[in-house]
């Protein structure tokens, strides 16, 4: 629902321009037909619409959307919580607006997770998992299990994890949930003694086949088994 937008003025040029700006940021933005399903409303006041009716409808909503009210001339807003945009709307103002509103919502405690595009703190710094997430949520992929196991054992950067063969959208979903649920530690790269070698995307990393944290013979045979199982059960 985070990127769902409703409008009573879908045919207006200003409204369509507004949406195309949103979609510059992420293709996930899209129209919905029911106002109650939308987190965002876009209203072009220059169209022939009943603004008072819309405002009353807005008043009755329990979960109020963020409203962009597009005008030709600056004037009074039907509701103070709405945001005024003068046509033609500058894209930087739209980005400011959604960025700020998403941030406000995220800092209020009972709002669900922000969308992946709206904040990805795990892309900076060193990541370490404190506990296993529940991988069943992300489909039955063994690559993700391997990545989680490594992040439980030792910290790594987001760029490094990507080189382990986990698809970025999947990784983002997992990290976002882990972050929200307090299972993920993110520490400052500069505080780590080895940050110079490990910080960048191009830093040398040990990929899975060579990765072997085994210290005892029992560990060695266990890691050998893991590798064999990956060969046997992970179909790409």
């Amino acid at each position: 629902m985070d990127d769902k937008v409703w409008t009573p003025t879908r045919q207006s040029n200003a409204t369509r321009a507004f949406m195309s700006v949103l979609r510059l940021r992420s293709l996930a933005w899209g129209w919905v037909d029911a106002p109650a399903l939308a987190r965002w409303w876009v209203i072009d006041s220059t169209c022939d619409i009943d603004v008072q009716m819309l405002a009353l409808h807005y008043d009755q909503m329990l979960n109020k959307p963020e409203v962009a009210f597009l005008v030709a001339q600056p004037g009074l807003l039907p509701r103070p919580a709405w945001t005024l945009f003068k046509i033609p709307v500058k894209s930087s103002l739209i980005f400011d607006w959604i960025g700020r509103r998403q941030f406000d919502k995220r800092s209020s405690p009972d709002y669900p997770a922000a969308s992946v595009t709206s904040g990805t703190p795990w892309r900076q710094g060193l990541l370490r998992l404190k506990r296993w997430p529940n991988p069943a949520r992300y489909g039955n992929t063994l690559d993700l299990i391997v990545a989680c196991s490594r992040l439980l054992g030792a910290p790594a950067t987001y760029a490094q994890v990507l080189t382990w063969g986990v698809a970025a959208p999947l990784l983002d979903r997992m990290l976002q949930d882990a972050f929200r649920e307090g299972l993920l530690d993110i520490s400052n790269l500069s505080r780590m003694p080895f940050s110079r070698n490990q910080s960048g995307a191009s830093a040398p990393v040990t990929t899975w086949p060579g990765f072997n944290p085994a210290q005892t013979p029992a560990d060695t045979s266990r890691w050998n088994l893991i590798k064999q199982l990956l060969g046997k059960f992970s179909f790409k």
Binding site: W132, N134, I145, S149, G153, L225, F233
Partner: protein, 190 residues
């Protein structure tokens, strides 16, 4: 104390948990060979060395197997659920490379079950490579649903995974096994 599972398997993975939870089902889902019960296995293939009480040697546990291109074989063991067969647990658990504890995720006494089995496992040194798999829950069960299990499990092993899993789904069973095998030892966490 060693038990010979045929002469072929060099490692083994064990499935533990209450009666009817899905241990045999999980074994069947991933085993390369038809899962047999030790009662049905010929004594040629399966020999218990003399460390198990005679009365318990006739008690069946499930046996399946993985084989690999290099000839390696891994035994898959479904432990009997009933406490009166605890001699089997004594023998089979300490030598398992990984243990998946299967639990009903949807019953009122799930946590009591969980504690009972974690005690069974820790007394036999079998929590280091453990995954706790909750059945009969939606795959995307909320963190709040998993949290009590996580909390309890962490008292036995700080990193032991808790996941939702369906014993009928091979990929789901493999996830649980892989998590059990690949959990770092607690000592390596700072």
């Amino acid at each position: 104390m060693n038990i010979v599972l045929g002469h072929r398997a060099t490692q083994q993975v064990a499935f533990a948990g209450p009666f009817g939870v899905g241990k045999t089902t999980a074994l069947r889902a991933v085993s390369d060979i038809p899962v047999s019960n030790t009662e049905e296995l010929s004594s040629e293939l399966f020999k218990l060395k003399n460390n198990v009480d005679k009365t318990t040697t006739t008690v069946g546990f499930d046996y399946g197997e993985w084989s690999f291109p290099d000839g390696m074989r891994v035994g898959l063991i479904g432990l009997p659920s009933q406490e009166r067969f605890s001699a089997m647990w004594d023998v089979l658990l300490p030598q398992s490379a990984a243990v998946v504890l299967w639990l009903y995720g949807n019953t009122a006494d799930a946590l009591t079950d969980c504690r009972f089995w974690l005690d069974v496992l820790i007394r036999r040194g079998a929590v280091a490579r453990l995954a706790v798999a909750l059945t009969r829950l939606p795959f995307d069960a909320s963190e709040q649903e998993l949290a009590p299990f996580r909390h309890l499990t962490s008292r036995y092993h700080p990193l032991a995974p808790v996941l939702t899993a369906d014993p009928r789904e091979p990929a789901s069973v493999m996830q649980a096994v892989m998590m059990a095998l690949s959990t770092p030892s607690a000592a390596s966490q700072v």
